[in-house]
């Protein structure tokens, strides 16, 4: 009898867990809108998961990060490419540390612009209806997303600084600055047009003080 009760209890937990997991994983819908707070509270962080994997819209832009350094003697370095050599090394051999290291830049940059589903919906509505973004700032920005942006930028800067140090091991570096050149994909309709010029956009980041970070390349 006690054994049967034990088994029934386990079964209840099993069913409950699966129902909540299923709800957590569905695309945005009315039930989720209503209960997402409770569902997320149960699922995160222990069971947090995301299987959107290249969907609904896969990544299609190339982000090239570059960094330059300002030295104590007043000079400024050239732009150093942080991205291309990583991609080349990863393509040359998949079984190296670069296979994961290559993700740092995209991971951090996506995290800068990534947001939860509800915020995303609000943001889309503002775009659709041409509303003034500033009126809704309190809905769009919260401590969590703001902090996340801060951490992502920090990770990018620190990665860049670690690289700068490996290029100039002896120099006295004061500040660094990152820029990112975003190159849009060639649209499918222009696939065979060799003259097509890919759309480009430059993101300029702020100068930040140099920090001595554990080296990434020994």
């Amino acid at each position: 009898m006690i054994k049967k009760i034990g088994v029934s209890l386990i079964l209840c937990v099993f069913v409950f867990h699966l129902v909540i997991t299923a709800l957590y994983l569905t695309p945005f819908n009315p039930v989720k809108a209503k209960y997402s707070f409770a569902v997320n509270a149960y699922m995160e962080p222990l069971f947090s998961q995301n299987w959107r994997l290249f969907a609904p819209n896969p990544a299609s832009t190339n982000n090239q990060f570059m960094v330059r350094a300002q030295f104590a003697d007043g000079g400024t370095s050239d732009w150093l490419d942080l991205t291309t050599f990583m991609i080349d090394k990863n393509q040359a051999n998949r079984f190296t540390p670069y296979n994961r290291l290559v993700r740092i830049q995209r991971g951090a940059f996506t995290s800068l612009y990534q947001t939860d589903e509800v915020t995303l919906k609000i943001s889309q509505k503002i775009e659709e209806k041409n509303l003034d973004r500033e009126d809704y700032d309190h809905l769009l920005e919260n401590e969590r997303t703001q902090k996340k942006d801060e951490y992502a930028q920090e990770a990018l800067n620190r990665y860049a600084q670690s690289y700068v140090r490996s290029v100039y091991p002896e120099k006295d570096i004061e500040k660094t600055q990152i820029i990112m050149q975003e190159t849009k994909a060639v649209p499918f309709s222009e696939k065979d047009n060799e003259q097509y010029e890919r759309e480009q956009q430059l993101h300029e980041f702020k100068w930040v003080d140099f920090v001595e970070v554990s080296p990434v390349f020994d």
């Binding site: 054994k3 034990g6 088994v7 386990i10 079964l11 099993f14 699966l18 997991t21 299923a22 994983l25 962080p45 222990l46 069971f47 947090s48 998961q49 995301n50 299987w51 959107r52 994997l53 290249f54 969907a55 609904p56 819209n57 896969p58 990544a59 299609s60 832009t61 190339n62 991205t83 291309t84 990863n90 393509q91 998949r94 079984f95 994961r100 290291l101 290559v102 993700r103 740092i104 951090a108 995290s111 401590e143 969590r144 902090k147 801060e150 951490y151 992502a152 920090e154 990770a155 620190r158 670690s162 060639v186 499918f188 001595e212 970070v213 554990s214 080296p215 990434v216 390349f217 020994d218």
Partner: protein, 321 residues
Amino acid sequence: MKRLYGMLTEKKHMLIGAGLLRVSFGLLILFMYFIHYSQRRFIWGPNGMQNHDHLQEQMALTSNFSLYQLSDSLLYFDIIFHLGILFALLFTLGVMTRFTAIVNLLFVWSLQHANVLILDGGDNIMRIILLYMLFANTSAYFSIDRLRANKESNAIGHAPVWNALHNLAILTSIIQLCFMYLSSGTHKVMGEMWTNGTALYYILQVGEYTHPFFQNMIASSEILLLAGAYSAIFVQLSFPFFLLNRYTKYFAMFSVIGLHIGIAIVMGLFTFSASMITMQFLMLNDQEYKRVYSWIKGAVLRVRNKFQGAKVKRYETKQVQ
């Protein structure tokens, strides 16, 4: 109803698959530790990509915990990192598995959350399955525990509650995998690039997810692009339903393994694919594994016999000379 209850409580199912899963997840974890050994301080360390204070803040903000947040000393970091390796090794070998499984998960969890930027879906599923598998017996095969138990005694627990817990942990893992493919497939159907068959064309333009050789080959053929996008959607959405039938199950396994091999080779996401393929160890039951084993044994024996036969013949010709 009674039959279902019996299936759930009379014995533990899928013990071989659970053992294989433990060993291969263990090896993947060890691979993660070792391939990044020389960059460990940069990736996860207190003065690495992330400032230590910010790691603490972030963990507090998301009600999360990582062993790496406890101290900002480099020595502490190195101790935790190496203990992590040790427990991953013990887990892989199956030493005191009930205990090492918990500790190993704590270390893997801590490592993953000390830097989330380099993770992929494979790390995510591994983390969740390792958690479910705490409730399962993963050391009945391929483990030191098993060898030791054989020496001492052969007592196998028959407690119905433990059997149910084990079986439901395995079932939860399988259903979790089904949910994953359903979720992934559904979100693909929602995306225009996937339904109009150009998704691969776009993904293959992204440096991190491509290789020039495959980009040229696949992007130049509309048929390959379409087949690639649609088969990815179809394989993912159909996986749970094909599992329901004894024969289509093999097709489901075959097709997701194919999908992940494709992703590993073309996109270079091999750690992701390795985790996903590892999950397939849970799809075969003990009888099926035993059948596969005896077939392999038979094949080896046949080859050996042939080989030995040949040796004998050569010997005979020598005699004639």
